[in-house]
């Protein structure tokens, strides 16, 4: 799209030895302690779950084409949305950026040879795989129909499906994310290269650090909650069952104590990716570095104090609802600060539009809408009406898909040359980004309207007057699917046929660009020494972002 050209660079060649060809064989992959290879293993695993979750989503949207439901009985439909939720949340979104891009980049960005605890890192992947096996087993055995929230007493006493299997899978996968978080925290504290002070850390590191704090502190609470649920279901004891004196609302408190911070696990790393991309393609320092960095920490801290906003209509006292509503408005502010800073970063920049930047711009727009519609849900009197309707569905898909998945894809494109040493095909990638953006909005914008009209979530059938909006949404979903499948094809293609990227195709700043692409197993030939602030763009010797024909 740009006509600007710069002198063609000398013909680039792949490095002779790098982490991908250091040694061969299935053993060298399955027993690797190299963070980059583990990132690749995670990438393959979560792509699998993204596809499964996507298939469920497609079936859901097809089913809802007609008011009475086009394809399935209600019980099958309930399994579909439950499995869509569980797989997407626990097996795709939570590990998505931290376990793939984070795993790959955190040591590179801090100038370390590996994460601090490589064995724990490998263990994390194996634990994740064990959890994933439970999830697959659940699906093979016949699924689960609790919704991803597992509310008691429905899940503990009424449903006949494989609740315990799925719960165990989630508990196990949770430990994988604890191990990843633990590793990041230790690495950021103890493994930074000489000169890389906290004030010089890339924002991707800050956001992954904040994410890790949540992973380490919140995930164990989910584990104990689901253990209690599984025990209650298995042995018919009454911790959450009102028939035996338990309190079902306590389950909701404990569940959301993890699962609200968990939405920040899902979005914070995405925010880090956006900070990297926007600075690179604006050729500019980030606007207000310390504000962007600390807003990540602020989100992580405030995120722990808002969980009961999922329970405004569940019978909590009016005054505690008031407190949680107030805190929920407070947690919105740091996110707003980030959006303003990203926008301001473009001001007086030298902006170019490669695929990662398109995804980043899409992210900022969609995340703004997703974040602002969160205010509707934090507002007590309004939440009464929109709670548990499609408004909620639309809101969190704007944040999770419009935000996180866009950031994930943007980051994947941005660092793809670093991961594989080769460029993706720019034209196709831009097309895919555009299709994703259009398809996404068409899928989820109608759901805001549906929600305010009052269509409840998790409905296998709905009143006929909601049909037009549902059809629009399904149409959008089919476009969105194309937008997601395209990258899968051309990225795989590019691994073999893509142009050789060279160490720094974007002329970007950051330690990860100072080593070859793909990096050697030990990341750096010599331990790098950092002498400058992050994003020190604009120096004389710097080139522009080269234009890919």
């Amino acid at each position: 799209m740009s006509t600007v050209t710069i002198p063609t660079q000398p013909q680039l060649e792949m490095p002779k030895k790098h982490y991908l060809n250091d040694n061969y064989g299935i053993r060298s992959w399955l027993l690797t302690k190299d963070h980059k290879r583990i990132a690749v293993l995670y990438l393959i695993t979560i792509t699998f779950f993204f596809l499964i979750g996507g298939v469920f989503a497609a079936l859901i949207r097809l089913h809802l084409l007609v008011p009475e439901g086009a394809l399935f009985q209600a019980d099958v439909y309930n399994k579909l949305f439950s499995l869509h939720g569980v797989n997407m949340v626990f097996f795709f979104l939570v590990p998505s950026i931290p376990a793939t891009l984070g795993n790959f980049l955190v040591p590179l960005m801090v100038g370390a040879k590996d994460l601090a605890l490589p064995k724990i890192n490998l263990a994390s992947w194996y634990i994740f795989i064990i959890g994933a096996c439970f999830s697959v087993a659940t699906m093979v055995l016949g699924g689960v129909d609790t919704g991803w929230t597992f509310y008691t007493p429905l899940s503990s006493g009424y449903l006949k499906t494989h609740v315990v299997t799925m719960a165990v899978g989630i508990i196990i996968a949770g430990f994988a994310s604890i191990f990843t978080g633990l590793n990041f925290i230790v690495t950021v504290h103890r493994m930074r290269a000489p000169g890389l002070t906290w004030g010089r850390l890339p924002l991707f590191i800050w956001s992954n650090y904040a994410t890790s704090l949540i992973m380490v502190l919140a995930t164990p609470v989910l584990a104990i909650t689901l253990i209690l649920l599984a025990v209650e279901r298995g042995f018919h004891i009454g911790i959450f069952d009102p028939k035996l004196g338990g309190d079902p609302v306590l389950f909701q408190h404990m569940f959301w104590f993890y699962s609200h911070p968990a939405v920040y696990i899902m979005i914070l790393p995405g925010m880090g990716v956006i900070s990297e991309i926007v600075t690179c393609f604006s050729r500019k320092r980030v606007f207000g570095y310390s504000f962007v960095a600390f807003s990540s920490i602020a989100i992580a801290v405030f995120g722990f104090l808002v969980w009961a906003h999922h329970m405004f209509v569940a019978g909590i006292s009016t005054y505690s609802a008031l407190v949680f509503s107030l805190m929920s408005f407070a947690v919105a502010i740091p996110s707003a600060v980030k959006v303003f800073n990203w926008t301001a970063t473009m001001y007086k920049g030298s902006v170019s539009f490669h695929t990662p930047m398109l995804y980043a711009i899409g992210f900022i727009g969609l995340f703004t809408i997703g974040g602002l519609t969160g205010l509707f849900l934090a507002a007590l009197g309004l939440d009464i009406h929109v709670h548990d309707t499609y408004f909620v569905i639309a809101h969190f898909h704007y944040v999770m898909v419009g935000g996180m998945v866009m950031a994930y894809l943007g980051g994947l494109h941005f660092w793809w040359p670093k991961l594989t040493g080769r460029m993706y095909p720019e034209g196709w990638a831009k097309l895919a980004a555009l299709i994703t953006f259009i398809g996404f909005n068409l899928t989820f914008f109608p759901q805001f309207i549906l929600g305010y009209l009052g269509m409840p979530r998790r409905y296998a059938a709905y009143p006929p007057e909601f049909q037009v909006l549902n059809v629009l949404s399904t149409a959008g979903a089919s476009i969105l699917a194309v937008g997601f499948i395209l990258p899968l094809i051309y990225l795989l293609w590019s691994m073999r046929y893509g142009e050789v990227a060279g160490p720094n195709p974007w002329q970007a700043k950051g330690l990860e660009w100072e080593t070859s692409s793909p990096p050697p197993t030990h990341n750096f030939e010599h331990t790098p020494v950092v002498t400058e602030d992050p994003y020190h763009y604009g120096e004389e010797q710097d080139g522009e972002v080269p234009v890919v024909p």
């Binding site: 027993l31 230790v186 502190l217 042995f235």
Partner: protein, 247 residues
């Protein structure tokens, strides 16, 4: 997997490839261990919070439940665990000094005390089984057939001087107390069992003579973990056995 080493400083055999120095390695793994303990605290914290909420809600039943478990066994186990913490500390000390004989001795002693704890716990569980106090369908705290020894209802009626009918209602609610009793001590016992596995591994390493004044962090972190599990018990013991026992 082979690594081409780029750093040329002399290497301690235990220095992992990603670290520059033993000091950095020690600091990193130490920090990681504390983060892990933080995770553990949050996990037990969730359970303790749920316990406290139900304790407030079913105060009478929780008091009655704690009457039915033996303080003497709990107290004995507390002593055993405190003693094991001492032997564990001694094991760390001997690893720091690199005295292999003492390492083996103290780790073995710690394991012995750990097994004693688990043995007592198993005995207590068995008693609860005999008394029909295992939550679930067969739970009976009102002295049903075959469950006469676990008649909490009668005990409550005698102690509180209240009619048997009211005592039976309280006795039925003790099921939730026992749910927590088993969940909390069970999770703790699971940690003890994992700790025993850890000790076995340390014992093998100590026997091989792996630890030296330069490299003893596995013993140190095994110790941290062991002390953490002890501390959890130090909270569990009063919460389950002692509070409000006499009022």
């Amino acid at each position: 997997m082979s690594h081409s080493q780029t750093t040329t400083t002399e290497h301690h055999p235990a220095l992992a490839h990603q670290f520059d120095s033993m000091e950095q390695q020690r600091e990193a793994s130490n920090f990681g261990m504390w983060c892990f303990l933080l995770t553990e605290i949050m996990m037990f914290g969730g359970l303790f919070t749920a316990y406290l909420i139900y304790r407030l809600k079913y105060y009478e039943a929780f008091v009655a439940g704690s009457w039915s478990i033996q303080v003497s066994w709990g107290f004995a186990n507390t002593l055993v665990l405190i003693a094991s913490s001492l032997t564990m500390a001694m094991a760390v000390w001997s690893a720091q000094r690199g005295i292999r004989r003492f390492q083996i001795l103290f780790i073995a002693l710690t394991m012995l005390l750990g097994s004693a704890f688990l043995g007592v716990k198993a005995k207590e569980y068995y008693d609860k089984y005999e008394e029909c106090h295992i939550p679930g369908a067969s739970f009976n705290a009102e002295g049903g057939l075959g469950c006469e020894t676990g008649n909490i209802a009668q005990e409550v009626a005698n102690r509180e001087k209240i009619p048997l009918e009211a005592a039976r209602q309280i006795a039925r609610q003790t099921q939730i107390f026992f749910s927590f009793y088993f969940a909390m001590t069970g999770l703790h016992a699971l940690h003890m069992i994992l700790g025993m596995g850890l000790m076995t591994w340390l014992l093998l390493k100590a026997n091989r003579g792996d630890f030296s004044p330069e490299y003893y962090s596995p013993v140190e972190y095994g110790g941290l973990y062991w002390h953490f599990v002890d501390i959890v018990w130090i909270y569990l013991f009063p919460l389950l056995y002692l509070i409000s026992r006499h009022r």
